[in-house]
Symmetry: C2
Subunit: 441 residues, 2 copies
């Protein structure tokens, strides 16, 4: 880790110390991804099979994973893993069930009723990365809210397995089935996003796409979300990151383990330690070396650590200010006063309080969602929540009384905005009410 003594930096160097590594240039990738999307749009399933042959070396990807194939995979799963997935499912379900949005009805003026209503997104597509490790936890993070929202259709796509396309990790199938998802496709990459956004013969189009992926997937999500005929997406993506704020009394072994669990995600992961204790930083560095050596993914983690930082601050208040300026995706607070500090954080996407709360807890099984805004986006973008699987719309109804009560103000405002037809739509109605009233008299 790069050591930084915060107090010795001027403000521009401080800004630099909190800068994220530049993202790989999406512009370089964009034309290739655009070509893939165009080919899936024009050739459908044939394009998907062709990409599977060239990218995945699979001659005959069936694209859809049959229910029989799903049953066969499930029979391979150990009871221990099933139980662990069920525990995570239950906790994620409990936390997200508490987020069910409520409809609202307000009579704003007499006879003027306004409603805000929630409706599940009709068709959602969940992207689950494959590659180096299967991610059943991500299936739960996307599938549980889709199930609770009662989205009429939820489908899952994940890269084909090896040696056969159908060799998907049984954990993914088990988690999907728990969430009521059986429509599963063995495709990945930009071509999977294109298939979800535009549809093919086999895969019907979805309205919104969720889930993390590599930079081809990210660029494809970006592109289809810019096209009104494409699909909406969950949130902008960036490399995962953690900031640990610790004091002199924190456990250096725990902190090193937490930093490494972020670092092993990928070489572009960012890991930051902020402390007002030089001695704590020293001890964490020692622990990092010792623990790193024993990790199977030590090369990935070492690369991530190489561009990571240990920031020494003159006091805890500065450590909090540094944290808020960075706006971390994950914030782990390991200080004696962790609970009291929590209210001071203004920009973290997910906060882990105290020594018994590692990031792994939220990654898997505490109940919170692990799909989080990163790269500083947490200042404005929310943690994935149940509400992201709904759309909110309004309904209003005016009675004749309501029209009489607010109609004259509407006419005045429309005139102020020189929108005469807007005024007219109300004047006509007020005149009709007036003449009806006179008929009565």
């Amino acid at each position: 880790m790069q050591r930084i003594d915060w107090a010795t930096l001027d403000s521009s160097a401080q800004q630099q110390a909190l800068a994220r590594p530049a993202l790989p240039d999406a512009a370089a990738l964009a034309p290739q991804v655009r070509e893939i999307i165009a080919k899936v749009q024009s050739e459908g399933d044939a394009a998907l099979r062709a990409y599977s042959a060239s990218f995945d070396k699979l001659d005959n990807n069936p694209l859809q994973l049959s229910l029989e194939a799903q049953q066969r995979l499930l029979s391979q799963l150990s009871p221990e893993r099933k139980a662990a997935i069920e525990l995570a499912y239950d906790n994620i379900r409990k936390f997200h069930a508490a987020q069910l949005p409520r409809d609202i009805e307000v009579e704003t003026s007499a006879g003027v009723i306004c409603e805000l209503k929630n409706q599940p997104i009709q068709s959602v597509g969940l992207y689950i990365p494959g590659g180096s490790a299967p991610l059943p936890s991500t299936v739960l993070m996307l599938g549980v809210p889709a199930q609770l929202a009662a989205c009429p259709r939820a489908v899952l796509v994940t890269p084909p397995g090896k040696p056969a396309a159908t060799d998907i990790a049984p954990e993914i199938i088990y988690a999907a089935n728990l969430c009521g998802i059986t429509e599963i496709y063995t495709i990945g990459g930009a071509q999977a996003i294109a298939a979800l956004a535009y549809g093919t013969e086999t895969i019907a189009k979805v309205d919104k796409i969720y889930g993390p992926g590599n930079r081809y997937v990210t660029e494809a999500k970006q592109q289809v979300s810019q096209d009104p005929r494409g699909a909406m997406i969950d949130m902008p993506a960036g490399p995962s990151e953690v900031l640990v704020l610790a004091d002199a009394l924190a456990n250096p072994a725990f902190i090193a383990a937490d930093l490494l669990s972020q670092a092993e995600h990928g070489p572009d992961s960012q890991v930051i330690l902020v402390s007002d204790s030089q001695s704590l930083i020293d001890q964490v560095e020692l622990q990092l070396s010792a623990q790193l050596a024993a990790l199977p993914r030590k090369e990935i983690a070492a690369k991530a650590l190489a561009h990571s930082r240990a920031i020494l601050t003159p006091d805890q208040a500065t450590a909090v200010a540094v944290t808020n300026a960075y706006a971390p995706e994950h914030l782990i607070v390991q200080t004696a006063n962790a609970e009291a500090l929590t209210a001071q954080f203004t920009s973290a996407a997910s906060i882990f309080v105290g020594q018994w709360t590692p990031e792994s807890a939220g990654d898997y099984a505490s109940g919170t969602n692990h799909v989080l805004p990163t790269y500083g986006y947490s200042r404005t973008v929310s943690s994935l929540s149940l509400t992201d699987f709904f759309r909110r719309y309004t309904v209003q109804r005016l009675s004749a009384t309501g029209m009489r009560n607010i109609g004259p103000a509407i006419v005045t405002l429309a005139e102020a905005e020189s929108l005469e037809a807007h005024a007219n739509a109300v004047r006509l109605r007020l005149a009709a009410l007036e003449s009806a009233a006179q008929d009565k008299n």
Copy 2:
């Protein structure tokens, strides 16, 4: 209006009948907007003044509207307009206050506490279009939720007035002040969006930008939202649109007035009438001609009507299906059974129920928000709501008991995903708890 007999069309012609007009090619605009943004980033206030000189023919735009200038403008405002703005403010406030998000705390397993918390966006920028007509109503639609959310900073930008930059419509200032906004800048266009997203000497950067604008503004919002150092935006934009669903008993004069109040927004507005009654369609056409002739903005409205459609359906169920397929921004339901029909709509952004509920009501004063997803985006994007001025984040805390309860499942799941460091962060803690327990015995 173009007449369409739905039953005579094949499915591809039906799809074509509901297609929106192609948007002007953003790609053509993109380089010019990119140049404006880059110039504001590098030259700050000087760039803003230079654009004001070339675009607005204003030699010395002060950029910020002083409190004195605001007071002077307010003194020009009639009591009648003040009262109308206040009525609208009160209703919008009542409806949005009912939307205050609640924080959630759930103990998912014993000793595992998860929270979902809401925090106002720290700094928001509200764009209010100028040009042909000032839009105080949009100030309220953006300013009221910013005030209710208690965003620590809310600023307003609007194109400079004429002949002096400070000649802003008093209605805009009055509405802004009601919402507690006094930081007001007299700049518009792509340069205003750039100033909000990146900051200049005079204008501090904001976190999120809200509000409608012309295609330069829209393209600039799109560009700054793609840059992690830029700013988030409220929603994708498109031309405004209304669909009126009416039966044989509906009032043709009301319907024509509603269609025209959408058509006068701009030549790209889209206006659709769907009915199972040929006679109603005929009567609305007659009313349209009569009412159009009397409108000051009749040329704009006539252009919009030229690409608008009257769709005859064989029955009401088909009319509902057509409406759902189109996914209108505004849906006005003028049928005898309007109330009962409302539950059948699956994609409209805002629904206006019954003959006394013109679109003007929601545009100005009923209380609902008039910033709505258009161009089919309402299938997945929500009506602007109070929640769009908050970010949601999670907090979790495990006690030693909590770690004991879910730790083993986390280890199992991390192993299943081959993320050994994730497992390790938990194993270390379980071991520490184990050894502490043995010390006690």
